[in-house]
Amino acid sequence: MTAPVGRNTELRLERSAAAYRRLLVAYPRPFRDEYGDDLVQAFRDLMMTHTEGRGPWWRAIRDLVTSAPRQRADALMGGRRGPAGLVALVVVGLVPAVALIGSPSRSILFMFLVVIGLPIVGINRLHRAWLVRRTTGGRVAGLVVLGVAAFSSDAVLLVLAGPDRGWWIGASVALVLIVGSGLGIAWGIASLTAAARSRDPSRRRLARWAIAAGVVILGVIIGAGYNSYRNSLPPPGDHSVAQASSETRALWEAAGRGDVETVVRLAQTCADPWVQFPVGDGKHNARGYADERLLDLPDAQEAPYAEIKRVLAGTQSSWARRCHAATS
């Protein structure tokens, strides 16, 4: 009976090793090329020593989850350590975290994607194209075409992610931009810190100015994002009125008075399309007026919106015309 058991164990070992080797794709290629066989050998030894249960697999997966990002980050930063690498990792980690927080962060995320994502993804692609040109001796015209194509494709992505598209299109585009932005930022920080340590004084000076400008831009974005977040706070009852911006307070007050025309005017002119205010029994944001969901309310809840729709019908905005067409 021993021989079949031995064969089974060996087969299980081979399968496990093959599966583990496939998981090594999580590590960067240079690390894989240099240590891939050693990693598999260590995993096989681990499996042979701990033949029972899922202990070795659990340990290997846990190790993979913690060590692969570290190796990726090292590869991304060219093996450099220090505050720049840390900042890059924080930024790369922060973006998906912001995306996961929930609706109050949508404005911040949207702004990040548009203000930072679009240029950085484009610049990152330009840089890659430049590298291609330098290594292949291509022509500058080709570089320009590549750059235009990169920016155009990003613009198309943003249009695709418009508010009227399905959530999955928005999520896919956001994922592409988040990954692109993260890599672009990491690349930018790595390049700038490398330039800041350069022996060439003019290059060093330029890099330091660029870093300073980047910090200022980041500060402005964070400030604007915070302001946007304040605007998107829910109406009184959930949060203090004092926490809201003057724009939001004016909307709430007009809604409280039943002054529909003021509500509509403020909703049309407010800086943040996600700002929320109470209408009837519910809470809506400015963009909600253009949302078909508003038009599909049950009859019992329709009354508070009738006046709003009437005012909207008199305006010239495209979404108002759509509202009017949908209700008439």
Binding site: F31, D38, Q41, A42, A60, L64, S67
Partner: protein, 125 residues
């Protein structure tokens, strides 16, 4: 009283993080291959430090780059071991770092024992 030029300066590498410290301590006992290092680190730390293949070779890569360890050309008896395995050993710099780090930790324990008003560290019996 200047240091001999043959003794490498361990200062830039001290203090060592727990994982590299344990690997260096294990290799101070003799040459080891990857899995043997992993197993001995676990034994040495009473199971507190359990390394997986990825973190092991990630740390080995850094120690190799820093010149604290090197790959050994000495092969054990092929009949006893897989000759594809890579063996690692401590360099002179690695040994100096190991000594410096242990010295630092010993001083830390000693100072804490002397200075702490409360008994953070048990006196040796």
């Amino acid at each position: 009283m200047s240091k001999s030029p043959e003794v490498p300066d361990p200062t830039p590498f001290v203090p060592l993080a727990p994982a590299p410290l344990h690997i260096v301590l294990v290799l101070n006992r003799g040459e080891r291959h990857g899995y043997a290092i992993m197993r001995d680190v676990e034994d040495l730390s009473d199971g507190v430090i359990k390394m997986g293949p990825g973190s092991l070779y990630g740390t080995i890569k850094k120690l190799l780059a820093g010149g604290l360890i090197e790959q050994s050309d000495v092969r054990p008896d092929p009949a006893l071991d897989d000759e594809r395995r890579k063996y690692y050993r401590l360099t002179a710099l690695g040994r100096a770092v190991c000594v410096a780090e242990l010295d630092r930790l010993a001083k830390l324990v000693e100072r804490t024992r002397r200075a702490a008003p409360t008994r953070l560290i048990a006196e040796p019996s």
